[in-house]
């Protein structure tokens, strides 16, 4: 006879082992990037253009390029995403159209990032003749983060108690006034969280910007939205695979700046969620 208690112990040990196999490497990766990247971080690294064939100097154009791209993506995606979430949470009836919209959002979230790159190339760069530019890249990234923003915002809006809507409507407020003055203010934390997570995702993606905006080497700051630009993830790709003999310091330093940017955004999202949750108890 097998002893069920011992079986349980062994089983739980293996479950724990599996968990450790995932979580430990994550910790190690972050720690090693921070440890090896930190020595590279200096004022010059953050504010200078790349020099010596990208083996020296700084990464300012890549940082600025990424910031522009992220900003552009959000300017495009936030209004559409938020309104779409409002539609789904406040207006949509349980019908075929709503089902199709939800399915479309699920699919939008699942499209491989490199396919977004192709799409951006065909539609924005070639068809609309925006060329490889910040505009093309931002729009591509914007569509990519749209499902993140819609899903998070919709959850946030739907978590606002129905009773609040009834109170507002019962006072003679119109539907839009109710959304504007009661639903949105109470769902704002979830919307912000979703938006910031979308920003983080946009900042870290490489494939969608490969053919829509990214410049291999473009040692100046972009002047208009029709300029090409460098971007942190693509720059990391370039100096780790395309340019020989780039020092570890440069590569880890770039990786750290990118990781730091993304993690800061995620922490901000966490803090926002936590603070609003504490403030709003209903």
């Amino acid at each position: 006879m097998r002893n069920p208690r011992r079986t349980e112990k062994i089983a739980f040990f293996f479950l724990f082992l599996a968990t450790a196999l995932i979580v430990l490497p994550v910790g190690l990766i972050v720690v090693s990037i921070v440890r090896k990247g930190l020595p590279a971080i200096s004022w010059q690294f953050l504010t200078d253009i790349p020099r010596e064939g990208m083996r020296g100097g700084g990464i300012l154009p890549a940082i600025v390029g990424t910031l522009y791209l992220v900003l552009g993506a959000i300017v495009f995606a936030l209004p559409i995403g938020l309104f779409a979430a409002i539609y789904l949470s406040e207006y949509a009836k349980d019908n075929v159209l709503t089902r199709i919209i939800k399915l479309a959002i699920v699919n939008l979230a699942g499209v491989p990032s490199v396919v977004y790159g192709l799409f951006g190339l065909a539609l924005f760069v070639v068809f609309f003749r925006f060329g490889a530019s910040i505009l093309s890249g931002s729009l591509t990234l914007g569509i990519m983060v749209l499902p993140i923003i819609i899903t998070a915002s919709r959850e946030a809006l739907e978590s606002v108690p129905q009773a609040f809507r009834e109170v507002s409507l019962s006072l003679g407020a119109s539907k839009w006034q109710t959304i504007r003055h009661v639903v949105l203010p109470n769902g704002i934390s979830g919307i912000l969280t979703g938006t910031i997570l979308g920003l983080g995702r946009a900042a870290g993606e490489t494939a969608p910007i490969l053919f829509t905006v990214a410049a291999f080497y473009h040692p100046q700051l972009p002047r208009s939205i029709f300029d090409q630009a460098m971007a942190l993830p693509y720059h990391l790709y370039v100096i780790s695979t395309q340019v020989p003999n780039v020092g570890d310091k440069m590569r880890y330093g770039t990786a750290l700046v990118l990781l730091g940017l993304v993690l800061i955004m995620n922490s901000v999202a966490l803090v926002v969620r936590f603070r609003f949750r504490k403030r709003h108890r209903w």
């Binding site: 109170v167 019962s170 003679g172 407020a173 119109s174 009661v182």
Partner: protein
Amino acid sequence: MKFSLRDLNVWFGSVHALTDVTMDIPANEILGVIGPANSGKSTFLRTLNRLNELKPNFRMTGDVRLSGADINKTDVDLLRKKVGMVFALPLPLPLSVFDNVAYGPKMHGVRTKKRQKEIVERALKEAYLWDEVKDRLDTPASKLSGGQQQRLCMARTLAVEPEVILFDEPCSGLDPISTAKIEDTMLRLKANYTLVLVTNNVHQASRVADKTAFFLSGRLIELDDTDKIFTAPSDKRTEDYIGGRFG
């Protein structure tokens, strides 16, 4: 007559929630509505300010008129401005005391702070809450006690100057003292407003209502003067319910 209803039928999907309700609600009186759970009394109440429409599968037939005008042909926001509602649980919006009361007037275009202050003060006085909160208008409404919150909700409704106020079991979560205050307020409001009070508590109806309606399984069984309903009801089922034999 404030409200007149003729052959009102309401469905939610396949559920027939109200069947052939015909009644009149006179002005400046309190109409008590009693009945067991799921008897349709809340649905009846929410018909009067068209709040049932929020449910996706709602459907109604029949004729409901407010001061002679078909409510389904009235602008819904205007109707709800005229027909205010106080809900079962105190439901202050997550705003300050002041902003809760000022919410309705703001939505109806009262922009100046001075005007808002006047309205808030008047409404809070009408709900007999002014003296208790006048020094803390900026605190969150959730900081008030349950009874105060419910009177705040009354003030909020009064602030938009309705003609009718609907009460949906307004004292279900409150202690006897708070309940007494609310009932007292209702009796005083009668002079200027028409009140409809849905309650699970038959004694509450007997204490405040001028007329009382008894609902059972979506039908209006009996509507008469409260004294008559409680002393000599004409329907056996009314007598059974009031006597506590079911429900």
